[in-house]
Amino acid sequence: MTQQRVRVRALMPPGHVRTPAYLRGKTGTIERPLGAFPNPEALAYGHPGEPRDLFRVRFRMGDLWADATHPDDTLDAEIYAHWLEPLKD
């Protein structure tokens, strides 16, 4: 099974989100699914927070930073499904 490639949506919504700005618009692979967790974007405002699927996404440093000294080093972050778009490759 090949690793599912995904792109983080390049959105800049106001308010509380858990997707770091430095990863928006970047491409990585699903490292593992984590299951569903209450959506922090709703929890932050006192709303119930419906469960949303969460994934660990692995990025190559070279895909994050043009001047990375070690481009094959990696960065993993937890990103909610509604922030990810699958790529055909």
């Binding site: 770091p20 994050l64 937890e78 990103i79 909610y80």
Partner: protein
């Protein structure tokens, strides 16, 4: 002069520490007001709050060191830890509550390091309160940008052949690094091995301490 001691040492040899006479911030005032209201309305008690602070202070990196040393000496526990670290730690009495723990393991070719760029997420059930530098803007912003330079400032210079894996705790996971077991520790008990496991080695800014000859 009786008050001319700002740079001097006390009779017992300790530096004088200036009194913290600055006014409370808005948020400090708010915290006191909410706490007093919760006590006044019977939602909690001062004794409950003190007991909770005691529980928080009792958690220390010694918890994490126990987990690491067991992983080094008990292959079945190691397998459970890598599969589901929350459950494996809970069976040792270190419950992480509603959060989820992931163990990442250093090997001869991979070095892991943990950061939380958005705030200061930290595996408090295993390591206690985070050090101040972990919460600093410099550590949080630079570790995802130039991890090797940050690690070098901690005294850890990694060979080019080692892959560095940075883990940004952005949501509901917490992470602990399982450092590589030091050389020349064959036959050591888990208790003795735990003395080699520092807090920083479980964050990933250091390796485990070497066994002294």
């Amino acid at each position: 002069m009786p008050h001319d001691h700002h740079d001097a040492l006390s009779p017992s040899g300790h530096p004088y520490r200036p009194d913290d006479d600055t006014p409370l911030t808005y948020w400090q005032t708010l915290e006191i007001a909410v706490r007093e209201l919760l006590i006044e309305k019977g939602v909690t008690t001062a004794a409950d709050i003190a007991a909770q602070i005691d529980r928080m202070d009792a958690r220390s990196p010694a918890n994490g060191a126990t987990v690491v040393a067991r992983a080094w000496t008990d292959p079945e526990f190691h397998a459970r830890l890598m599969l589901d670290a929350s459950a494996a730690c809970a069976e040792m009495g270190f419950d992480i509550g509603p959060l989820r723990l992931i163990a990442v393991e250093n090997t001869a070719t991979v070095h892991n390091v943990i950061v939380c760029t958005l705030c200061s997420c930290y595996p408090r059930n295993l390591l206690g309160l985070p050090p101040d530098w972990y919460k600093s803007r410099a550590y949080r912003s630079r570790t995802v940008r130039e991890p090797r330079a940050v690690l070098a400032e901690f005294g850890l210079t990694l060979p080019d052949a080692t892959t560095v894996r940075v883990h940004d705790s952005t949501a509901d996971m917490r992470y602990i690094v399982i450092p590589a077991r030091p050389a020349d520790t064959l036959g050591w008990s888990a208790d003795r091995l735990a003395t080699l496991v520092s807090r920083d080695s479980m964050i990933g800014t250091a390796t485990a301490r070497p066994a002294l000859a």
